[in-house]
Symmetry: C3
Subunit: 128 residues, 3 copies
């Protein structure tokens, strides 16, 4: 079964915790691997600490330092940095599932990574 969740960002660069939506999707799955796929080219997805929001802030600041919004880019739409950041984070994550639970570590959350918001986005989900 393929499912889809909607993600609404409110800033240009923003990490949005989507763990609970993915948890809801896997609750009937006895054992498997769930793939969460971002069908966008200026957003990515990653797994990292969800407890302290400073971690997300540090990550966004470092990505902006390495790949600044303003720079010598050829792409004329003004969001070349967002494309590059998206590939650095990646377009999908895979999480192992057991007895309806994501086998995440204690501190792990799943983050949608917006790099060209605010926008309405989606994430596709499927278990194998």
């Amino acid at each position: 079964m393929i499912s889809q969740i909607k993600v609404t960002s409110s800033k240009r660069n923003q990490f949005i915790d989507i763990t609970s939506e993915i948890e809801a999707f896997v609750k009937e799955i006895k054992e498997g691997v769930v793939t969460c796929f971002v069908p966008h080219t200026t957003a990515g997805i990653t797994i990292n600490e969800g407890a302290d929001p400073s971690v997300q802030a540090d990550m966004l600041r470092k990505l902006e330092e390495l790949v600044p919004h303003s720079g010598e880019y050829k792409h004329a739409e003004g969001n070349a940095d967002a494309h590059i950041k998206a590939s650095l984070m990646g377009s999908s994550v895979q999480i192992i599932v057991k007895n309806g639970k994501l086998q995440l570590g204690t501190w792990q959350s799943i983050f949608f990574c917006e790099f060209d918001g605010p926008r309405v986005r989606k994430v596709l989900i499927r278990a194998s």
Copy 2:
């Protein structure tokens, strides 16, 4: 079923769009997740915008800026940068498939990322 596609690069650093080859592989699959795996250590794979080639150019230029070909590397083969770029992009991508179609976003293409070409390379493909 495991399949394999051949990729021939013509430059040292080059993104090569392999979307149509992966599309051909999945056309009999009703529903699943396809894994595309690069069995090389100086090449990677990523999903990003395929419409404007400037995006690929910007990505390659930024990767070269962050990880220059010439630098203080210990690896004696002269391609340490290619190894590092490969890990930043990653060795595989996963795409959800439905009714024989890759569930990619409108602007997404699958790119083989050559960082030590020109070479003849391969990508392994399997659906789960």
Copy 3:
């Protein structure tokens, strides 16, 4: 079946080759894709060259240069860099399996990427 391996790091930043443990896990699998997942937020996983240890050294040095341990981070635990490095490498790898063998390239090894050691860590494994 889900399995788990234990990884013990001895340095703050360290790549640890876990290929043989993953090989052992897949030896009864006729065909599939194995997912190796790191349930930590200051460690990642990547596939790269295992023959020359200089490649690992170059990769760690470059990651440290791009994301230094000491920097202007908000996260108060002193390991913000480790979180960022973890997301740059990623939390999982997928490898295609055939006749009990990982379909890795000649030079590829699977590396657990420690960025906040020394610690005792784990990697979860499942084949689809």
